[in-house]
Symmetry: C2
Subunit: 353 residues, 2 copies
């Protein structure tokens, strides 16, 4: 059964499309009142992630409002370290935390790769159920945090202004950090492949904190392990190519290196001009992005104008997936998201065909 | 009376030096026990800034410990908006805040440029006193926040995870933000020129938050106003050229544009490879940076090795001032800072002369 709308998948593979497809990072989230109602019914955030019925409900909510060209699995980037036993929890206003952060060498040596079909069964069940509910309308994106980004949270125990613990390990005990990253890379590979087997039609790696590294450290401690994952991903499933997207926030300096990894697309934050990014990577990869999420606090004329600038900067031709440069803010008016999606669909047509 | 050590000034002007000069952003600060004692005597942070005796004491403390090649005025980047009447204060663990943030158009229209020799007299008094105490040992750096960075704090009322208020103004009411930025640029120009007249021998503009902008917005709302300042700075004072340094944290994508402004040096954060930065800007400007401050949590052998990598990446020749890529962490052991300074002085000699 073919997809009714495969624009997103064609754009990721640099094939011709009639318009520029669009989705939004964190499109199922707190800016939607219906999401907040689902979340309240679930209990806490992880209760929502681990309940396939509710995860399906959350995944589909933005698609009921906006003509988005892709759905993304409702889940968290930190499910893997939780499955490793670190105890993920969310404290209000402080983001994700771990009850048992990785600080001691013996704990690091004891880490093992979880079996995604056992310890992360709830994710695979959600994927299957979401695919059924989507009924081949649009493709479903699966995802994970990058090995380095997972390690940041695993070692720090939460977010951090300067990541001093994980970066001290990087400089002082690189062997230990490499050990964590190798385990993480194998875990992410198995996890994303299990998501593919369960039905996701594209995968994205979120490297939220790779941009906190020096260029040399980024290459050795973040990029190398994302490369290991890309090399290990299932390329074809159910007769279709499964494209991969790598997003390093703050990674604009390293686009050539990211493109050389063999991923199909690079997610861009809003700080880089997408036209210049295109010049730098040539026709090697698709670019996904990169409207500043703060634009959605403006009036619809301004939103339309700023969408137009991103489309114009990318220019004519294939290989662009429109997105925000970062997750949509919880304080966004959903009507402004609607205005952005409509503007992308309308204004992008002259750049195609 | 010539300076005993003018290595820093020569390096900023791309003249030959015997070794690579070094200083540290936030070198007078909480990692030094003697600073914490001075601070405790002063009362709060602004009491320390506004007391020329104590500001002089704090400025000189790191020079008594380490053979640094420059002193930097002990002050805050936000003295200008404080002088404009916004009420700067520091709440523990939350960084700088303003009692009366700029939100209403009438308040914005009422902003005026402070007279630095009146409202910021305490800074000029500190500069004169520090120069006397330095007794021509090393040059003194003056500084200010950039117009955009000042505006971030002025509009948000403090730091912010996404600067949504000031960036919403940028997209929705660019005329209002331009009005603030023009006032700020005129205020910073007058302030830095007053510092030069009072005795600082180089000036630095700290653009802490320009890196939160898109490329187009950075050019229009941050760079253009730093350009206005550079154009208005006193170039020669007391028979010497006064070099200028521009530091945009997260500005690695825009080095060519920063170099074209006419500043003498660009401050680099640690995310960019300094050798690649040098290739991009050619011999137009000196580069200042860019060791990851977290390296100072390592042992001295590691610190020495990482210092060596930065020096090696920059390579032979003039035009490098060594620094951290960001302010030194308050949790740094002062002996580690000493190890860095010693390593720079020793390991850089083969790259010169």
């Amino acid at each position: 059964m073919p997809l009714k709308n495969d624009t997103f998948l064609r754009a990721l593979l640099r094939q011709p499309t009639e318009y520029t497809p669009v989705w939004m990072m964190r499109q199922a989230g707190r800016y939607l009142p219906e999401y907040n109602r689902t979340r309240a019914r679930a209990g806490d955030f992880m209760d929502l992630c681990t309940n396939p019925d509710l995860a399906t409900e959350a995944t589909l909510q933005p698609l009921a409002r906006f003509p988005l060209d892709a759905a993304i699995l409702f889940s968290d980037i930190l499910t893997i370290p939780d499955a490793m036993g670190l105890g993920l929890y969310f404290s209000t206003g402080e983001g994700p935390k771990f009850e048992r952060p990785l600080r001691k060498e013996c704990d690091i040596r004891a880490l093992t790769v979880p079996d995604p079909n056992i310890e992360l069964r709830y994710v695979m069940d959600a994927v299957s159920q979401i695919r059924k509910s989507l009924n081949n309308s649009v493709p479903l994106i699966g995802f994970s945090g990058s090995p380095f980004t997972l390690a940041c949270y695993m070692v720090e125990g939460g977010s951090s202004p300067d990541f001093s613990l994980v970066k001290t390990m990087l400089y002082q005990r690189p062997d230990l950090l490499h050990h964590i990253l190798d385990i993480n890379a194998r875990a992410v590979t198995a996890y994303l492949n299990a998501q593919i087997e369960a039905g996701v039609q594209a995968v994205m790696i979120f490297d939220s904190w790779g941009g906190a590294l020096s260029e040399a450290a980024y290459g050795e401690f973040s990029l190398a392990y994302m490369q290991q994952i890309i090399n290990g991903l299932i390329r074809m499933h159910d007769g279709a190519t499964i494209p991969s997207i790598v997003y390093t926030k703050g990674g604009g300096l390293w686009l050539e290196n990211i493109a050389a990894m063999g991923c199909d697309a690079i997610g861009l934050d809003w700080t880089i001009d997408i036209g210049k990014a295109r010049c730098r990577v040539g026709d090697k990869v698709t670019l996904q992005g990169n409207l500043d999420p703060v634009v959605l606090f403006s009036d619809t004329d301004t939103i339309r104008a700023e969408v137009g600038k991103v489309l114009h900067s990318y220019g004519k031709g294939n290989g662009h997936v429109f997105n925000l440069g970062h997750g949509i803010s919880q304080f966004t008016d959903p009507d402004k998201a609607a205005a952005m999606v409509a503007a992308v669909h309308e204004l992008s047509r002259p750049y195609h065909g």
